[in-house]
Amino acid sequence: MRTKQEYLIRYKDGNLYCELADIWIDPSKPVKKALITHAHFDHFTFGCEEYISTKETAILLKERVGDNIKIKTFEYGEEFKINGINISFHPSGHILGSSQIRFIFAEEKWLISGDFKLQKDETCKKYEIVKTDYLISECTFGLPIFKWDESNKIANDISKWITNSPEKTSLLFCYSLGKAQRLLNEISQTNFKGNIYSHSSIHKMNNSYKKIGIDIKDTIKIENKKKIDELKGSLLLLPPSLSKGSYLKNFKNIQTAFASGWMSIRALRKRSGYDKGFPISDHADWDGILEVVKKSEAKNVFFHHGDSEALSKFLVEKESINVLFFGK
């Protein structure tokens, strides 16, 4: 058995790091070379000398960081070499451009899952099963209480929620990149045919998706002064950061909801302060994580991004899979 220092990829200063290539994965502080799995704010940071990502992620990243960053892009499946290590991006199904990253060195395969889901999402490429020896997986929802419903069922629930209160303005809070576009795509296939408005942060992302060639339903950008009557019976998509504070005072007679995997738990739903919660997630549920672990054929698994204790114990006891720990 190797010591922690000898793993191809390990934890360093709280980030995933490959010493042999001197490259970081989704680093939270500025570094020389950063591989970026996807363009969510908690997966990249400003000020790195060089970024490497998929083409789609690069476009979204530039939208968020600015045009003047140095960024190298690759197609899904396209292999490139750094210091003798073969590296490639593979679809992870999380959001547009999101990827798993595979490293091959001396016939040893490592796979970083990135954030991933297996569920249907027409706004990004479907998760690709990649075989590996070592798997580094996220486990945000690593408990068996998490079992997602089909996304069209959730979309129908949302549609019903809006149309059942035609006198109200329905405020649906969701992450502006990925979740919002997925919801738009799903909701446009339901019976709800009213107006949909997007907050500017969401509107911007919708446009980026369209530029990349994803078919997203047109929405109206929320302007500062909107007549309240005009909004009756329509759906407003807003980022969760606006749910607390004075922003809501702009509207009258509203109902609010949050679209997130955590909303499957009643106590969290109640505590969140939203009227309603729609449990829909861009992360894998328990079964999803187990499926990926099994199908990747990994003999060794690391978990990060979540409570991994129960999941690890379950895999060791029930599936005889070797779960390793990075340590700090």
């Binding site: 408990l143 068996p144 209480i145 998490f146 079992k147 499957s264 738990i265 009643r266 106590a267 109640k270 009227d275 309603k276 328990w286 079964d287 204790e309 129960a310 114990k313 379950f314 006891e317 029930k318």
Partner: protein
């Protein structure tokens, strides 16, 4: 008509913070379901029954056994979810493959009148099989309701007031009438629902039921701007609030918690039955110190309330008295619409008549509340400060022109308590004590209402007698929902009066407040959890003090 409708009702009520919305949802439910299902729905929603048929632990063990799930994994999930019924519901979603294709469509009535009560007649093996069968044949969105009813943890943010309002809207009859009809026992049946929604108001039918109680609010500053002559002042006794009803010769004694307690106080029932008139009196039951003509404290009346058919010696040891505050009905005439000052005149008139006509001296067991006449507000304050001397809690201040409505109406009655640093809270956790108290559950956590949720606000260790501690310990062991290590989460049922020295804002606590030196000053067995205070009350208290 199915359980599905009730599940949907639950989801809708749970997702709404708006009172009007909830009333609308309830109204629609009542309109589109059978009387019998409606009756059960009211029974469940008003918390008339939250009997536990099976413990959360049992449910989790059963799930673990059937689906070969490690218990530790279920326990880990529980930590995240905080409710066994919900954990099992969520885990069952993962077992949807084992579900039978043909789903059963049962009614709420079937579930509550047959299936669940029958479980207790089965042996363990049959019982387990039945529950498993229910899990596998019930549609997925009915699981939560089923599991919650099984474990006696069904609760949703609906008050009796809300049910009252929605029925009142449904049939266009005054809320007060519906509220009256909902008083007392409610046995789910077609009849009980039809009675509730009957458009004809028939006083006879309400014969056995007490009127909805009118409750006092905490004192507000604005009252001091009014003339003292606008108000009636009485001592705030610390006993059990009751309605003493005599109709068609039958006497009934109803507590504010809507329990009939005739059997605990036979001497009062006997004495009252000699009075010629019919009436409804609102008052307080106390154990009375006849020598000094003051009340004994609350712990004395507690010794009587839970004892049915007390012996003569108990009756002599703890002599009771009913102090009448108000006359609500006299010889079939409902006088709640009269002004308080006029009702008082009636009360005094009839009381002196009864006193003179009754053979025995009824004042041995029944008197009317003495009025106090402060000259001005500072004088009222002086009276309040003196209230400790006669074992009262302070003053009750009532507007002389007010009618007797129901509930905690604002601007009618106020309580002016001598020690304001008190809140009635619900016991939610208990922890084992150490040292002398090892082996007993003696560390308690208490919660206040926030909307329909109970939020922990204080922990207390002291204040109960050793006998009470033992009694509570026994109750805790029988009413544990979950155990985590030394801590047990408990069925919210017991209300305690918590006193403390200081109250301030605290960001560290979920409740947003911190209290200093909290202690238990009373076990309020007479109160239901809905009578406990809310965080809002705590904030008001804080405002008043600062």
């Amino acid at each position: 008509m199915s359980l599905k409708n009730f599940s949907e009702l639950f989801v809708d009520l749970d997702a709404s913070n708006s009172t009007n919305n909830k009333i609308e949802v309830l109204k629609n439910y009542f309109l589109s379901n059978d009387p019998i299902d409606n009756s059960w729905a009211i029974y469940l929603l008003t918390g008339k029954s939250n009997k536990r048929f099976i413990s959360g632990r049992y449910l989790k063990n059963l799930f673990s056994k059937i689906y070969e799930y490690p218990e530790w994994l279920i326990d880990t999930c529980y930590l995240k979810v905080g409710d066994s019924a919900e954990v099992i519901t969520l885990l069952l979603k993962n077992k949807s493959t084992s579900r039978k294709k043909k789903l059963s469509n049962i009614s709420l009535n079937e579930l509550l009148s047959k299936i669940i009560p029958n479980l207790s007649k089965l042996n363990e093996e049959e019982k387990n099989l039945k529950i498993r069968n229910m899990w596998e044949t019930l549609p997925e969105d009915n699981h939560l309701i089923f599991n919650k009813i099984l474990t006696g943890t069904f609760r949703v943010g609906v008050s009796i007031g809300l049910i009252t309002k929605s029925i009142s809207k449904l049939i266009n009859i005054d809320e007060e009438v519906i509220s009256h009809r909902l008083m007392g026992n409610f046995e789910p049946s077609i009849d009980s629902y039809e009675f509730l929604i009957n458009k004809k108001i028939n006083l006879q039918e309400l014969n056995s039921k007490p009127f909805p109680f009118l409750l006092a609010n905490t004192i507000e500053d604005k009252i001091f701007k009014h003339s003292i002559n606008d108000f009636q002042f009485e001592w705030k006794y610390d006993g059990i609030r009751m309605q003493l009803i005599k109709r068609s010769g039958n006497v009934s004694l109803w507590t504010r918690g809507q329990e009939l307690v005739n059997e605990s106080f036979p001497e009062l029932v006997e004495e009252i039955s000699h009075i010629q008139d019919d009436f409804v009196l609102d008052g307080e039951l106390l154990v009375w110190n006849f020598k000094e003509q003051i009340a004994f404290d609350f712990s004395f009346i507690q010794k009587r309330i839970n004892r049915k058919s007390p012996t003569k010696s108990i009756q002599i040891k703890y002599p009771i008295i009913f102090i009448a505050y108000d006359l609500l009905e006299i010889n079939g005439r409902d006088i709640r619409e009269l002004k308080l000052e006029n009702r008082r005149i009636e009360l005094e008139k009839y009381f002196s008549k009864w006193q003179n006509k009754t053979e025995n001296n009824i004042s041995d067991i029944f008197k009317i509340s003495d009025l106090i006449f402060p000259k001005d507000w500072p004088d009222a304050l002086t009276y309040k400060e003196k209230s400790r001397e006669n074992n009262t809690e302070g003053l009750i201040i009532k507007k002389k022109t007010s009618i007797y409505s129901s509930g905690r109406k604002k601007g009618i009655w106020w309580k002016y308590k001598v020690d304001p640093m008190q809140l009635d809270a619900v016991l939610i956790y208990a922890k084992g004590g150490s040292g002398r108290r090892a082996g007993l559950y003696t560390d308690y956590s208490f919660a206040l209402w926030k909307d329909q949720e109970l939020i922990k606000f204080a922990s207390a260790y002291s204040g109960l007698t050793n006998i009470e501690i033992k009694e509570l310990d026994k109750w805790i062991r029988k009413n544990t929902i979950e155990k985590f290590g030394p801590v047990r989460s408990l069925k919210p049922e017991m209300v305690f009066e918590i006193s403390f020295e200081k109250i301030q804002i605290s960001k560290r606590h979920k409740s947003g407040i911190a209290v200093r030196f909290p202690r238990i000053t009373k076990w309020r067995k007479d109160k239901k959890i809905n009578d406990a205070d809310s965080l809002e009350n705590a904030y008001e208290l804080m405002k008043k003090i600062s």
